[in-house]
């Protein structure tokens, strides 16, 4: 039976790690929104909503596995263009929250196309790189890949969403790196990129984004706004100590000191309530998932699969570094959700879709359908 074959060829460690991570996420969304749930007599229940999104994600998961990543390869560019159109649509009809325009309302659903852009850029880059491997030595190989990355990235930066657009840079570099671009070329690009930073600062970054970077260097510049978030988050994590204060017992969390605590700052809640132990556990889950992704890349039967798997690994890595780093003040506050843990439909779908792609690559290395 075809389906039995599918089931027996799954990568179960990956599945289990992912489920654990999502479960931790739902638990802490519950804790982080506990006061809100109480205040509204359980009319607003974010953890339940997150479960619904997980369920929708699971359906996508099954659909992608049944369809197969190699068939998705043929759609890579189409998905890429569709995503760009969605991003353009955001400028036309998108809704604005916290000063940036990122969301589209369709019926009762709220979509954040910039979340999906991370997947579609990985697919498009993998398609382009795997189809032009013979040109790996030429500069245009690298340049074209860069142009491909730049379109969605600039659109997202203009929304403005600095965090999400930052994720594109490591994805791009990692993918061209594993595709075999000469190190010399890469160094040139990095050099060019570094010289471009001043241009970036003066022409592209909006004032509030510059402020975030400034406040990152000196939280006291804005003691009531961004600096406040950074300080409170660090206090939350630090006061968790080794054992943590216990689930639902974090004072920083339950007493409302933490900002955006069930979305961007969910990791602070974990740090406070589960302590260093919990942080290590969750970080370890991420590490294992990323290592598994690299392992799957190594075992993939074709170059497209290898590139996609590497891209996904780096996407998860950059989320962890940017978001978790922000909660303890080693990264500026940029408003990027933490994949698998933060509350949010689009983010959850992106996370599950990337795991589905990994599974599909894994299954197809031995068992085609």
């Amino acid at each position: 039976m075809k389906k039995l074959g599918l089931i027996s060829h799954m990568n179960y460690p990956l599945l289990i790690l992912t489920s654990l991570l999502i479960a931790v996420g739902v638990f802490f969304i519950y804790s982080a929104s506990y006061q809100i749930t109480l205040e509204t007599n359980a009319q607003v229940n974010y953890s339940a909503k997150q479960l619904v999104w997980t369920l929708i994600g699971f359906m996508c998961f099954i659909a992608i596995i049944l369809y197969g990543y190699d068939r998705i390869m043929k759609l890579s560019y189409m998905l890429y263009i569709a995503n760009i159109l969605l991003l353009l649509l955001v400028f036309a009809i998108g809704s604005t929250r916290y000063g940036s325009q990122r969301w589209i309302h369709i019926g009762g659903l709220v979509l954040q196309p910039s979340e999906f852009a991370k997947i579609t850029i990985i697919l498009a880059l993998a398609r382009y790189l795997s189809g032009n491997l013979q040109n790996y030595r030429s500069v245009s190989f690298l340049a074209k890949a860069m142009i491909l990355t730049f379109f969605p990235m600039i659109l997202i930066l203009r929304q403005p969403d600095l965090g999400t657009s930052l994720v594109f840079i490591p994805i791009f570099f990692a993918m061209v790196f594993v595709a075999g671009t000469p190190i010399k070329h890469l160094l040139w690009f990095v050099g060019a990129g570094l010289t471009a930073i001043p241009c970036f600062w003066f022409f592209i970054l909006k004032d509030y984004q510059k402020n975030r970077v400034r406040v990152f260097w000196d939280p006291n510049l804005d003691p009531t706004g961004l600096g406040y978030q950074a300080i409170q988050s660090k206090i939350a994590i630090g006061s968790g100590g080794f054992w943590g204060k216990g689930w639902l017992n974090g004072t920083q969390n339950q007493l409302n000191f933490l900002p955006k605590r069930y979305t961007d700052f969910i990791f602070s809640v974990i740090g406070e309530e589960w302590g260093f132990l919990g942080v290590s556990f969750v970080l370890l889950l991420y590490l294992l998932i990323m290592i598994l992704a690299i392992y799957i890349a190594s075992k993939s039967k074709d170059s497209y699969g290898k590139l996609v798997a590497c891209g996904i690994a780096v996407m998860i890595l950059s989320h962890v570094i940017i978001n978790v780093g922000m909660t303890i003040g080693i990264m500026p506050i940029t408003g990027l959700p933490l994949l698998f843990l933060s509350y949010g439909g689009s983010s959850m779908l992106t996370a599950i879709i990337s795991i589905a792609l990994l599974e599909s690559i894994w299954i197809k290395r031995r068992y085609d359908y």
Partner: protein, 610 residues
């Protein structure tokens, strides 16, 4: 193909090496993060535990002082005064001391111990945010608490600016009032620099110019000691005070108007006919907007909202009345311009008018005899106008002229919830009542009764347009908004809503009619006369309600001086049974007061007329 295969081989060849590098990079990043958490949670853990336990970093909002409202000459009508509020941070009160504190505070503040205990025990609110226990305590209580501050951990005194309407109920319907944000407003505005206990303009100028008056709240992050007193200031953002609003209202005239109407209900509006400036606008009964900012018993506020006297309704813009006889000038103009009426045309009034089996009465049972248009205005003869409506003009023309003078439309004054009124037509009646227009409806309309409904402000705009020769002005209530640094940030220019073409002859006839209303010895508005200043006007007595329960209201509308008009006015005295008796004397006093207090204007006027 060979080339592609070779490329594929190269790719596979280098791939393993490079992903190993990638894996190592990932592991390095992991250890870096892990190390950072170890540093924060283990090495500096105790320090952060300390910080979190007594989370002393407190965010305090420094409310921006609300802008001041001035009258046209710079008299302050509304500004701010400090209110000393007793605040509590519940988390800072040791549990075993709550009873003592409640007992001591109760004796100082003359409140019941249980009430205070209840207030310092509530949980389930935002922690560490100061909560107000009592607002606006007096100086005695303030010093008593300050002297014993050691006994009151967690209790502090916060001076906060509160709105002060200096003259109480003075111009209350124009100024409006401010109030705490409602739940909906807070949800809507929390991202727009409003905080949960913030005030917002709810009515009148306070509401309409909210964006100017509000200012920008500041903020402060402070470290406080274990009794809740500020220990160290970590960072301050100064508030930006709100901008100041200058009204066109003349404080002295407004006060005078209010003194005349003190024991009456109704409305008065005085307008400058040259630019539409509202010099006085008052609605009676008035209310004291201070009750919304003082610690007032909610009973008083509830009464304001629910009373049948409709204290909060600004009758000048939000209550509809028939125009009554004040509408006759419009009908006369309409008949002269569109129906061919001339001064030579006379109709005979025997006290009643019959049409189609119905009888309409003139207010003077004995009849006015044979009258022309000027005399009809002078005596306010109804029969004359019934005849015009029957023989010369139809509802269509009257509707068209009423439209030109702004009836049935909002005047566009800068006040909230103005009503548009009703300027009836065949179409209107079909749509709203689903009935055809009967000839009798036109007869009623010709004397401003029937379906026509207007606001006092619409009437005064119409009178001003007659006075200035056909310019329908938009009423100006706000002259300018000036920022705290003295810069004019918004000015409100004179706006002509409609330029109405009236022939010189018509203008002469109608204004002559209005002049005789006051100045002729048999004029209905004789009591509006002022010594030394020629006044023109028109009386009106309107009937409302059902035949069993008739209510009469008295109108007097007019302008002065007759030959070079400066001000137009409307006086509505509710339950007054005759415009000439109840409203006209008030007009007389207002005109006299205005010209006595604007002497330079008067002397110019005298020079002009010489």
């Amino acid at each position: 193909m060979v080339r592609i295969r070779r490329a594929e081989e190269h790719f596979i060849g280098q791939f393993e090496g490079r992903i190993q590098f990638l894996a190592i990079a990932i592991i390095c990043c992991f250890f870096f993060l892990w190390f950072s958490f170890w540093k924060v949670q283990i090495l500096r853990g105790d320090w952060f535990v300390e910080l979190a336990r007594n989370n002393r970093v407190r965010k305090i909002i420094i409310p921006a002082p609300r802008g001041t409202i001035y009258d046209r000459k710079g008299v302050i009508l509304a500004d701010n005064r400090p209110s000393f509020d007793v605040e509590v941070v519940i988390e800072d009160i040791p549990k075993n001391k709550k009873k003592d504190i409640a007992h001591d505070l109760a004796s100082i503040l003359e409140l019941s111990e249980e009430d205070i205990l209840k207030k310092i025990q509530i949980s389930g609110r935002v922690p560490y945010v100061p909560e107000k226990i009592v607002r606006d305590i007096d100086m005695n209580q303030l010093t008593m608490i300050m002297e014993r501050r050691e006994d009151f951990p967690g209790i502090s005194i916060q001076p906060t600016p509160v709105r002060d309407y200096r003259f109480g109920s003075h111009a209350s319907h124009v100024l409006g009032y401010i109030g705490k944000l409602s739940r909906d407003e807070y949800q809507r505005l929390k991202d727009k620099d409003y905080f949960i206990q913030d005030y917002i303009g709810k009515m009148g100028i306070e509401r309409e110019t909210e964006r100017f008056l509000k200012g920008e709240h500041g903020g402060m992050q402070v470290q406080v000691d274990n009794r809740g007193y500020t220990d160290d200031i970590l960072g301050v953002k100064e508030p930006v005070p709100g901008s100041n609003v200058y009204l066109t209202i003349d404080h002295h005239l407004q006060l005078f108007v209010e003194s005349l109407m003190m024991d009456k209900t109704g409305a008065v509006v005085v307008m400058d006919v040259r630019n539409g400036d509202i010099l006085a606008m008052a609605s009676f009964p008035e209310y004291d907007p201070n009750v919304f900012v003082r610690p007032t018993a909610s009973r008083i506020i509830r009464e304001l909202f629910q009373s049948k006297h409709k204290f909060l309704i600004n009758k000048a813009i939000r209550e509809l009345y028939p125009a009554g006889s004040t509408f006759k000038m419009l009908v006369a103009m309409c008949a002269m311009e569109s129906g061919g009426l001339t001064v030579a045309d006379k109709y005979y009034c025997n006290g009643a008018f019959e049409m189609g089996g119905f009888t309409w009465k003139c207010w003077y049972r004995g009849g006015h005899g044979s009258v022309n248009v000027i005399e009809a205005l002078r005596y306010s003869c109804n029969v004359f106008f019934y005849n015009l409506a029957q023989k010369m003009i139809g509802v269509h023309q009257i509707h068209e002229w009423a439209d030109k003078f702004g009836f049935g439309k909002k005047t566009g004054i800068l006040l909230d919830s103005e009503l548009a009124g009703v300027n009836p037509s065949k179409k209107w009646k079909k749509e709203h009542l689903n009935l055809p227009w009967y000839p009798g409806d036109t007869i009623n309309l010709s004397i401003g009764q029937g379906f026509l409904l207007v606001t006092p402000l619409q009437l005064v705009s119409y009178i001003a347009a007659i006075a200035n020769g056909g310019e329908l002005m938009q009423p100006r209530l706000v002259d300018r908004v000036v920022s705290n640094t003295g810069e004019v940030i918004q000015s409100y220019p004179r706006v002509v809503r409609n330029e109405i073409t009236i022939s010189d002859n018509t203008y002469q006839v109608v204004t002559e009619g209005m002049r005789e209303v006051v100045q002729h010895e048999y004029g209905t508005g004789k009591k509006a006369a002022v010594e030394g200043i020629p006044v023109s006007g028109k009386t009106g007595t309107i009937q409302m309600g059902t035949p069993q329960n008739r209510i009469h209201h008295a109108w007097f509308s007019g302008f002065a001086p007759s030959d070079d008009p400066e001000i137009a006015f409307i006086i509505l005295v509710e339950h007054g049974t005759s415009g000439g008796t109840y409203a006209a004397p008030i007009a007389s006093k207002i005109v006299e007061f205005y010209f006595k207090n604007n002497p330079q204007v008067m002397s110019q006027h005298e020079k002009g007329s010489e």
